[in-house]
Point group: C2
Chain length 399, copies 2
């Protein structure tokens, strides 16, 4: 899609290079709704929470927001009282410029932990940015929130509510410190659908669990994970309050698709990633065990380096399952890549199957299905491989 | 020490190249006690257990053994009934040659999971190996159990029990699939001290917890982890039955030193490792929380790649603590490298401290101390960095 096609009625967005950590790299993004919008958010479950997370959580208690301001480069985490003051000053500056109460401005940051966020570049650029946001400025905003991401992440879905068109558009950043046991990373979604703040908050929590909480890059949970969803009602539909209504279902589907698509984009663009792998555990004794099994395999350094090496090393998958802490019998496990059975009842199927799977592993995207043969529970997670570039990127990230 | 100095009265050891997976590489080791010895063992906690683990566990119920036979190259894991038959046949062959009941032979394997262990090379070499073991053959045995290890791991301690000298000697292999939440990897210890099988088993379990269960290379637990300790009584001391006696204490100290030293050698020679890092968490609310915190930091890919990059990226340490699932207040955390304070009350101490720590990180070995400021509990674990070579080794391990 072209930049002109990414539009949500009643929203403007944009990004600029404020010089927060590097010169000439977009690092400040702003999203503004023309009116006060229903707002929902989920945050990192990490005990160490960045200043913008602490501030935005308090601002969200009313479930209303006009704007989201985001910087990349510096996470404003582990920065104490100074960090909180800078986050507050940033929100205040935006609130002043667009004319809304400070608690209707949400703040997010991403980048290096433990460095002070310089306030001057932010303060100097914000007035300009407030006047520069445009209806078709979403790609600029998506670019300004990137850190080690190699591509901007944006996805849009359109549908009908009471025969009126509505739009859900989301942007996200990912790359490293990405682990499923979290709220999410940085993702921002705008929709013109009308929906109550309470219904939106419950929906966002559930859909996050099915999307961002099903991915991993490196098993490390960020201090800054944040997802905000703003709904300004410009679609003109009757406000959705019941998610079990047909409008509720339709909106859930659209939002769920945007979140899952963004989550997958984050995995595919994980730091150093060369493979996108969908891991499904079925035949689990219960959902929790199936999810734990899938997550343990998806986070195993040995499984992920084998993916990078295009090596059908299924023994590492079995070994990861065996330490997952779930109840199962190894001699009942079947294992498939793209539907080709490699392991049956815990034993190798044979050389022909292995040769076939070795071909599959050369693709940039494939699925691994593990059938525990214990019950009917099934869970899917998404992961990437562990490459030389992951180590290179993270050994040099601060320098 | 020279090879001639590694001697335990009443024991012989040796290793040969049997051609199990590669030609001309030592891959079969044998340890024999002249008499039936008190024996103890601990095994992997992985649900997927290799054939030699299943067999040796049953052989150890009597807490007596004459011999340990070990192959590298192929793990004989996920090999079903065939694997168990081969492990049994191997034990039988050794029992026949040295003249002891089959249940006094312990078996261990390490290498690729899911491949059948070829029996011919083992059967052909065993008679020769049984006659080739020598009192000073421990280094050959240590070499024959290596896989991706770059150096053989051997350590010996001598002491006095009732004024009689006694010796504790251990060998081990490590490198990859090394994670603290396990029984141990492959390690074999011989001593001429006299100790009852029951006392030995309890002691080995406790000391393993303080040594092998405190290390990590990559967070992946092997299917083959095994530690055996054989005590043949040649020292002539009165048999130790009470570990609280002065002899019991003396023996505990010697065994503990050997196990901890071997464990540290495994970390230092972890796959691709360039840094050895001792991580201590103090000020924990309780032991379990301190250990969980230390383990989470020691397994974080981002912390470990920062070690590799010699980057004083303390924010990643705080982020790892924050997802460890323990109760603490980030604003009370202090952090030190080799005793130099880098973080105080959750905030950076300053540029001078960071410059100092950056110098420390250039060393090949250093300590990281985390003071949670919550209580008095303290735990220490050992880890290595996450390097480009780790990925290279594991992307290519089977090829």
């Amino acid at each position: 899609m072209n930049k002109e096609e990414y539009i949500v009625p009643g929203f403007k967005a944009g990004g600029v290079a404020a010089g927060i950590r590097y010169q000439g790299r977009p690092d400040l993004a702003l999203i503004v709704s023309e009116v006060s919008a229903a707002a929902a958010g989920v945050f990192t479950t990490n005990k160490v929470q960045a200043a913008p997370v602490i501030l935005s959580r308090s601002h969200l208690t009313g479930n209303r927001a006009r704007a989201i301001v985001v910087n990349s480069g510096i996470a404003n985490a582990c920065t104490g009282e100074v960090g909180l003051q800078r986050a507050r000053a940033t929100a205040h500056k935006v609130a002043e410029a667009i004319g809304c109460p400070i608690h209707e401005v949400l703040v997010a940051s991403t980048g290096v932990i433990g460095m002070d966020l310089p306030y001057e570049p932010v303060a100097n650029c914000l007035p300009h940015l407030v006047s520069a946001v445009r209806a078709d400025g979403w790609l600029e905003a998506a670019r300004a929130i990137m850190t080690t991401d190699t591509v901007p992440k944006i996805h849009m879905v359109q549908g009908l509510l009471q025969n009126r068109p509505f739009t859900v558009l989301g942007i996200a950043k990912g790359a490293g410190m990405i682990y499923p046991n979290m709220a999410t990373l940085l993702a921002f979604v705008a929709t013109d659908a009308a929906i109550s703040g309470e219904a939106l908050q419950a929906l966002v929590r559930a859909e996050t669990d099915r999307s961002f909480n099903r991915i991993t890059v490196d098993g490390d949970t960020s201090t800054n994970d944040t997802l905000f969803v703003l709904a300004n009602g410009f679609a003109g539909n009757e406000t959705i309050r019941n998610m079990n209504s047909s409008d509720g279902e339709r909106f859930r589907e659209a939002l769920g698709e945007v979140l899952l698509k963004l989550a997958k984009m984050i995995v595919a663009d994980g730091e150093g990633a060369t493979k996108f792998v969908k891991i499904t555990v079925k035949g689990g004794p219960n959902k929790a065990a199936a999810l734990l099994a899938a997550r343990t395999v998806s986070n195993s350094s040995l499984v992920k380096t084998a993916f990078f090496g295009e090596d059908a090393n299924w023994g590492r998958v079995l070994a990861a399952l065996g330490r997952a802490g779930i109840d199962f019998e190894p001699q009942r496990v079947d294992l498939y890549f793209n539907g080709v059975k490699l392991v049956e009842n815990g034993l190798a199927v044979g050389e022909e199957a292995e040769a076939h799977v070795t071909e599959i592993l050369k693709e940039s995207s494939f699925s691994l299905t593990i059938d525990l043969g214990q019950g009917k529970a099934e869970e899917t997670v998404y992961t990437c491989d562990f490459s030389l570039d992951y180590v290179k990127i993270n050994a040099n990230y601060r320098s």
